[in-house]
């Protein structure tokens, strides 16, 4: 009976005080027909030692591999201090800071997080986090529809080369509110500006511009931003946050800058961890703050005039506005925000810029090395952090053999984007060394049965 402090004496005395003979008696309001005695499908409890052994054996069955796969989750260096501090009981086991005076640690941290993400995206307001990048994109779409000047506009324009899973998630989450995601035509790996005219004068609430796009390439950010604003649309940027330390942030796109920025926060100190928990960030211009989903922390003063922090504009949220809330989100990704805020403090602007620059340099080196293997063509247009190689053979079997050799070779684009042919999306973060790249090159050549110079 782990995690139960009651001794037999405690239980007897407590039942005595309540006036019940047994604990079971306390459940007498449950209709007898509904009462069960056990849980047949649940195994007997194990000691911590036994569960430790079980989990160690299962963790060891996951083979370690050399990772050249990105597609939304990236293997960056995570400073040791990040998780040794984030898992302190005071961060790990607190809840939403409802009682501000007893939660200034979490509240000030979220305020600092809001400052960092607003600054990183070049915008003015950030919420306290959403579940992940995909749901942040969906909430950005909902927010844009709420915030759009033409009340009727319920369409969002999305480029073809966006994260395909994000599009699926967004379609699922907005399905109930008849919002339509309209795919824009693309040529040469990015949105075709000429083709925009085909949209005629359909009403759009917003356009989403991924940065970089799913192929690692660059959309025409200024042109698309100005085009959208000219049509009274809002501009949503979907960004890789590491890139924003090196590249021009959404707030500086086009003449007026993007209105909303969202994305996956995993690259900011969150381990790959088999898929999550990650966190989604969402930032916007001040004018749209009241449309922002999720929590917001604001600075204020206490009765003695001392500075402090508190949840603010809660009227937007579900626990106050109930059915008229901006979103149904309550619990978000607090612990991930704690880790990301420590990560961003440790890296700073110059440190994060160097991580981004190294990711780019390593990906360039990777592309050059793999392209030197016979039959493989490198991308022509500029790319950042990820790039598309075209293989002379179907991608899936190549990836399978690479995996058997302990290498995660990349993401097979051919299923989602048949027009790209045998396209392989590869990525090298700052952690990949020249030696790692040489190992990949040799293995790829082996798989393709092509001889390569050492």
């Amino acid at each position: 009976m782990p995690f139960i402090p009651h001794t037999t004496d405690d239980t007897a005395a407590m039942l005595g005080a309540i006036g019940a003979r047994t604990i079971d008696e306390l459940f007498d309001e449950i209709p007898p027909a509904l009462r069960v005695v056990g849980l047949p499908g649940v195994p007997v409890g194990l000691s911590e030692a036994a569960v430790t052994r079980l989990m160690r054996e299962r963790a060891a069955r996951n083979r370690a591999t050399l990772c050249f796969l990105g597609a939304g989750a990236y293997e960056h260096h995570i400073p040791a201090a990040v998780w040794e501090i984030a898992t302190r009981g005071e961060f790990y086991s607190a809840y939403t800071p409802y009682q501000a005076e007893a939660s200034q640690g979490t509240l000030q941290l979220i305020y600092e997080y809001q400052s960092m993400l607003a600054g990183l995206t070049g915008l003015e307001v950030s919420n306290a986090s959403l579940y992940d990048g995909a749901t942040a994109f969906a909430e950005a779409c909902l927010m844009a529809v709420r915030g759009a000047r033409q009340a009727r506009a319920r369409r969002i324009a999305v480029p073809r080369y966006m994260n395909p899973v994000w599009l699926k998630v967004a379609r699922t989450l907005v399905a109930g509110q008849n919002i339509e995601l309209v795919e824009l035509t693309a040529t040469a790996g990015r949105t075709d500006l000429e083709a925009l005219a085909d949209l005629g004068d359909q009403d759009f609430a917003a356009i989403c511009i991924p940065y970089p796009n799913f192929l690692g390439g660059f959309e025409p950010i200024d042109e698309l931003t100005n085009w959208a604003h000219a049509r009274g649309m809002l501009v949503i940027a979907a960004c890789n946050p590491t890139a924003l330390a090196l590249l021009r942030p959404p707030g500086e796109w086009g003449e007026k800058g993007a209105d909303i920025a969202c994305g996956e926060g995993q690259p900011l100190g969150i381990p790959l961890s088999s898929g999550g928990p990650y966190f989604g960030f969402l930032t916007c211009r001040k004018a749209l703050v009241r449309q922002m989903p999720g929590r917001l922390v604001g600075g204020t003063l206490d009765v003695d005039g001392r500075p402090g922090f508190t949840l603010t504009l809660q009227a937007r949220e579900q626990h106050i506005r109930r059915s008229k809330a901006t979103s149904n989100i309550c619990t978000n990704q607090g612990l991930m925000v704690t880790a990301a805020t420590i990560y961003l403090s440790l890296l700073g602007s110059e440190g994060l810029r160097r991580v981004a620059a190294q990711c780019h340099a390593n990906t360039l080196e990777l592309v050059r090395a793999l392209a030197s293997v016979g039959g493989i063509t490198a991308p022509s247009a500029p790319f950042f952090h990820e790039a598309v190689l075209t293989l002379p053979w179907p991608v899936a079997p190549v990836l399978q053999q690479l995996a058997a050799a302990g290498i995660l070779g990349g993401y097979d684009l051919s299923a989602d984007f048949p027009e790209l042919g045998s396209a392989l999306l590869v990525c090298a973060t700052e952690l990949r060394t020249t030696e790692d790249i040489a190992v990949y090159r040799r293995a790829l050549a082996g798989v393709l049965g092509v001889a390569v110079a050492a």
Binding site: F3, P5, F27, G41, E48, M55, R58, A60, N62, T65, P79, W83, R88, S93, Y95, T96, Y98, Q99, A102, S103, T106, Q108, M116, G119, E124, D132, G133, T172, L173, A175, G176, L272, S274, G275, G276, Y278, K286, G298, G299, T300, L301, V303, R306, P307, T310, T312, Q318, H319, N328, T331, N332, L335, M336, T341, L344, G348, G351, A361, P382, E430
Partner: protein, 498 residues
């Protein structure tokens, strides 16, 4: 001592150099127009300053690891350290989510086992682990109910019935799914008003969202009749599992007539609340709704060489309501819940609800005996109960909020206040099973002392808290003079001093 903002501790050019590449790689192959001109306003501090800043900030928090935290409807039970340590084993932590399934059999087996145990705990036949918190679990539930009706051509069913005591996420979710919310009242003795329900159910009823025990802390005794009314009208019954701690191993939602249930793993199965998440709001369904479950789901193929675990996705579940996450949900939260459930086992799960209910009933009795007013004194408390301070507030002007603040000074996190909104000056108290009797007695004693002081010197109580890093904060100012980022203070210094 107040801890200054991390930004105010920096100096231009200060860095933690070992955390980033020693040499800055060139980026001249990138178009110059794409290069950021002004660096983002991130802190410029040393590693020691970062460690000190966030260690000091953590010490300002109340948490389960430092305080009794009876926050109603949140189940702030002990989060076992073993769950954290084992979920962070390199074999789980260093794995890319898109790695081939052959490399992830250990991870997938944990998730498959978790699915099976959650079916057993709810009596349901299908489970999806992908919803990333209760609200997403609710979304899945309502979306599946709509998909079920649509698949039968029943497109008119767009109403979701929600009791007035339901958590705010319930109506917000119904709206998000494009449904109209029909609110029904709660009767004087805490049960859903069956008559009102019978009036509103009809051909437009898609379903009803019910929490059992309700957020009033009492078991829904007429659950069979409710289920019969909703099903009779062609609707389905959705179970908000936030209060599962009350009935774990004692009653099965499936047997109560529910068609779909979400469970908050960060409540009932003790994954950490993390200052506001991450959670997991898994959904379990009976066979009616199984085809519509959100994907991906873990499936098992029994081959000669033993089991092979794999993801079931679009191909295997064409009618699924779709995906809710960029990959597969909050994996680390699922692993932590799995470790907790293996530590408990079946017998341990029964004890959870037994002792959570013993603690709630004992604390309610102690407070009632001391003259406090339970909202439903003739009812058994479930795992939580409500005290209304209506009379004290009337007599002394000291409100539930004042009591909450005074409890902080006495070293207790406050219960949930003013929720559910039905009960005036409401304290929703959930002790959980992991607190010892002496802690409950001390908490009761604290409430008694605060009430006595309220009658002697109301102003003193209203001036709490006095012992914490800040006293009461000006919420109006926070909303009026929005100060949401450090850099915004530079533009309007009047907003708040650095």
């Amino acid at each position: 001592m107040r801890e200054p903002l991390i930004f105010d501790q920096g100096r231009p050019g200060r860095r933690a150099p070992s955390q980033a590449p020693a040499v800055a790689a060139g980026t001249d192959d990138l178009p110059a127009a794409l290069i950021r001109r002004t660096p983002p306003p991130l802190p410029e501090v040393s590693e020691l300053q970062v460690v000190r800043h966030f260690t000091r900030l953590s010490q300002l928090n109340f948490s389960i690891d430092t305080h009794f935290y009876p926050l109603g409807s949140c189940t702030m039970k002990y989060n076992p350290r073993a769950a954290n340590k084992l979920a962070m084993l390199p074999g789980f932590l260093d794995r890319h989510p898109l790695e081939p399934e052959a490399h992830a059999q250990g991870f997938l087996e944990c998730l498959f086992d978790l699915q099976e145990m959650l079916k057993a705990a709810t009596g349901m036949t299908g489970v999806s682990l992908t919803p990333m918190a209760g609200a997403q679990g609710e979304f899945s539930g309502v979306a599946m109910i709509r998909a079920y009706h649509q698949a039968r051509g029943d497109t008119a069913r767009d109403q979701i019935i929600v009791p007035d005591a339901a958590h705010g996420t319930n109506p917000a979710t119904a709206t998000m799914c494009g449904c109209d919310v029909v609110e029904i009242p709660t009767g004087p003795d805490g049960d859903v008003d069956l008559a009102a329900l019978r009036q509103v159910v009809g051909p437009r009823t898609a379903g009803m969202m019910l929490t059992n025990p309700s957020t009033l802390g009492v078991f829904e005794r007429q659950i069979a009749e409710i289920a019969e009314a909703v099903h009779g009208a062609g609707g389905l019954l959705y179970y908000d599992g936030a209060n599962l701690n009350a009935i774990l191993g004692r009653a099965l939602p499936a047997a109560m007539g529910f068609d779909v249930v979400h469970i908050n793993l960060h409540k009932t199965f003790s994954t950490p609340h993390g200052g506001g998440g991450p959670g997991a709001g898994i959904v379990a369904v009976n066979d009616r709704l199984e085809p519509f479950l959100p994907i991906p789901i873990v499936g098992r193929r029994d081959g000669a060489a033993g089991h092979a675990y794999r993801w079931l996705a679009e191909a295997e579940r064409p009618q699924s309501i779709g995906r809710l996450s960029g990959f597969m949900g909050n994996a680390g939260v699922l692993l932590r819940a799995y470790v907790y459930m293996r530590l408990l086992g079946a017998e341990g799960m029964r004890r959870v609800s037994g002792y959570a209910t013993l603690n709630a009933n004992y604390l309610m009795k102690r407070l009632a005996a001391a003259g406090f007013t339970p909202a439903f004194s003739q009812r058994r408390a479930s795992h939580e109960f409500i005290i209304s301070l209506k009379d004290v507030t009337r007599d002394t002007g000291v409100s539930a909020l004042d009591f909450a603040k005074a409890l902080l000074d006495k070293g207790f996190h406050a219960p949930t206040t003013y929720f559910p909104m039905l009960v005036p000056e409401c304290l929703l108290i959930e002790p959980t099973e992991s607190e010892a009797r002496q802690e409950l007695d001390a908490f009761a004693q604290a409430l008694i002392e605060i009430r006595d002081l309220a009658f002697k010197d109301a102003a003193e109580v209203k001036s709490a808290p006095r012992t914490l890093p800040v006293r009461r904060l000006d919420d109006v100012r926070a909303a009026k003079q929005l100060d949401l980022t450090w850099q915004s203070r530079a533009d309007s210094p009047a907003v708040s001093p650095r």
